[in-house]
């Protein structure tokens, strides 16, 4: 896909507690198409220690309103600065980057399993499923209810199943333990997942054991985001592959898990 280097303007901002922000970006011209699983590289140029760009998933692309939505969790200086963006700020982005989740077949039962801020790429895939006439089953896990702040967005699109480690919302435990997955083993045709590495590995294992097609979106550290530095590799059955161009989405059967 053709890449663009664009200055986008913050047009919407929603903060929950002090850790999560949802930012809407727009442009005078029509934003390029982007697909679920793809990401953008954000230039954070007003922080002293963010030398490199920061990769952030496409949370949603509202074609009608011409708004790109990013959902950001504050973990360090770069994401802190993004949290502090105000409506009107202009931010340089390289986009769209990476491959995408593969398209489901009509009639499939699809589980979208997200952990923590890994829920980000799930929403947009869910929206596409819904457009196809497939009900997205979102299985969302986090440490605590306060880490699942955009849950209403998901409820508007599909069925939502929640686990939290402290039982503050939904079932207590890890996503993989959710009754929807454990009881539905035999019905589920496809799982897409994103989240912390141990979580995705657990999901991958579950899928393999139950013969379910499973795609995971990896979040390896990146220097460039577009395939030129070879820093973001993951071992696969065919050797090292770049997460930024061969991924971020991989079929778990190809991964060296």
């Amino acid at each position: 896909m053709k890449k663009f280097l664009l200055d986008l303007k913050v047009v919407e901002k929603q903060c929950w507690n002090d850790k999560y922000v949802l930012l809407g970006f727009s442009h005078d011209e029509k934003l390029p198409s982007m697909f679920p699983g793809q990401f953008v590289e954000v230039r954070v140029d007003n922080a002293p220690n963010t030398f490199l760009r920061r990769p952030i998933s496409v949370y949603n692309l509202d074609v009608e309103k011409n708004i790109l939505w990013l959902y950001v969790q504050v973990v360090g200086e770069g994401t802190r600065k993004m949290y502090e963006y105000e409506v009107g700020d202009v931010v340089n982005m390289l986009l769209p980057l990476g491959n995408q989740f593969s398209v489901a077949q009509t009639g499939e039962k699809v589980a979208l399993v997200g952990g923590g801020v890994g829920v980000a790429p799930m929403l947009y895939y869910g929206i596409k499923l819904k457009e196809q006439g497939i009900i997205p089953h979102f299985v969302l896990g986090a440490r605590s209810a306060k880490d699942l702040v955009t849950i209403e967005d998901f409820k508007k699109v599909g069925e939502v199943y929640v686990t939290t480690e402290d039982a503050s919302l939904g079932e207590k435990g890890y996503v993989i333990d959710h009754s929807f997955l454990q009881n539905g083993k035999n019905d589920i045709d496809r799982i897409v997942t994103c989240g912390p590495d141990p979580m995705m590995r657990a999901v991958g294992k579950f899928a393999k054991e139950n013969g379910i097609l499973c795609e995971a979106s990896l979040e390896n550290h990146m220097a460039c985001g577009f395939g030129v530095c070879l820093c973001c590799v993951t071992p696969t059955t065919e050797g090292h592959k770049c997460v930024c161009t061969d991924g971020p989405v991989f079929n778990v059967k190809d991964l060296d898990w």
Binding site: H221, A223, C231
Partner: protein, 300 residues
């Protein structure tokens, strides 16, 4: 305004090139800029045989810089010639291959193969990669080894030969003079500074290889110093790099003695940086009343 420069027999339409390992095979940038505007571009480090490179993690961000430990991942020269070289012929600029080896024999075999490629007008002999166990940097930090590999390659490679120097040495000018003596047509510097990052919370190194190569804005003062030292010591042209993040940085290198520059890590942060650097150099010459970029080379 003349921007043409000559790097030991290699004609560049302007002094702006890219640094190997930071520009892929060029194609990745084609959506965003016109590659043909460059003086040349250096493709990924290439070896005789396929290399998987080092394990992940290979990267750590540092203050105004980054460490990498890619370890020359590439599919080997045969794959390059078969799959990539044909596509690169379309570009109307100098496509230069960065040549790497673990032994003198490997370097020689590789450079022999590259010598036959009509559309590769020059090579950069990398004797300074800090990210491979055998060979690599060890050639670049020992004048005897540097001499040996340059001499051997010179015998089989008949086009302009640029040798890339390691900054991890006590006296870089000495190494430069050594490779000049063995027939190098130009030298390029600096490769990355050997560094390390520690994850305090996990109490372990960040990189799988413990140490890695430092690049980016942070290294610019060291790179400028070395370019200045080398340019005074040798008669062949010097290609400068290390932390170029804008046109002014590039001009500093030229003033310090570089006839051309390479943009490296800066390509990650702004994929169109080379074009900005090129335009900035032209603008600078104009503003300061120079009608030939060669006139500002080594003014300091």
């Amino acid at each position: 305004m003349n921007l043409k420069v000559n790097i030991g027999g290699l004609e560049l339409k302007n002094p702006v090139m890219t640094a190997s390992g930071t520009f892929g095979y060029g194609e990745e940038f084609a959506d965003l800029m016109d590659l043909n505007r460059l003086g040349g571009f250096l493709v990924k480090g290439t070896t005789l045989k396929h290399r998987e490179g080092n394990s992940y993690p290979r990267m750590a961000e540092t203050p105004s810089g980054m460490l990498n430990a890619v370890g020359l991942q590439n599919k080997g020269v045969d794959y390059f010639i078969k799959e990539i070289y044909p596509r690169l012929q379309q570009y109307d600029t100098n496509v230069i291959v960065n040549a790497n080896g673990s032994t003198v024999e490997e370097y020689v075999a590789l450079c022999e193969a590259l010598n036959d490629l009509e559309h590769i007008p020059a090579i950069e002999l990398n004797i300074s990669c800090p990210n491979v166990k055998a060979g690599g940097m060890s050639f670049g930090v020992d004048p005897k080894m540097a001499a040996k590999v340059t001499k051997a390659v010179r015998e089989v490679y008949h086009k302009p030969l640029m040798v890339k120097l390691s900054p991890n040495v006590t006296d870089i000018a000495e190494i430069a003079k050594t490779v000049e003596g063995e027939g190098a047509d130009s030298v390029s510097l600096i490769n990355t500074l050997l560094g390390m990052a520690v994850d305090a919370e996990k109490r372990q190194p960040v990189l799988s290889t413990i140490t890695g190569g430092l690049s980016g804005a942070a290294v610019k003062p060291v790179a400028l110093r070395m370019v200045w030292q080398v340019a005074k010591a040798v008669k062949i042209p010097v290609v400068g790099m290390g932390g170029i993040m804008n046109a002014q940085d590039a001009i500093e290198f030229i003033l310090a003695g570089a006839t051309a520059v390479q943009v490296g890590t800066g390509n990650f942060i702004d994929p169109t940086l080379t074009i900005k650097v090129l335009e900035g150099i032209e603008d600078y010459c104009q503003r300061h009343g120079f009608d030939d970029v060669n006139d500002i080379v080594g003014l300091i």
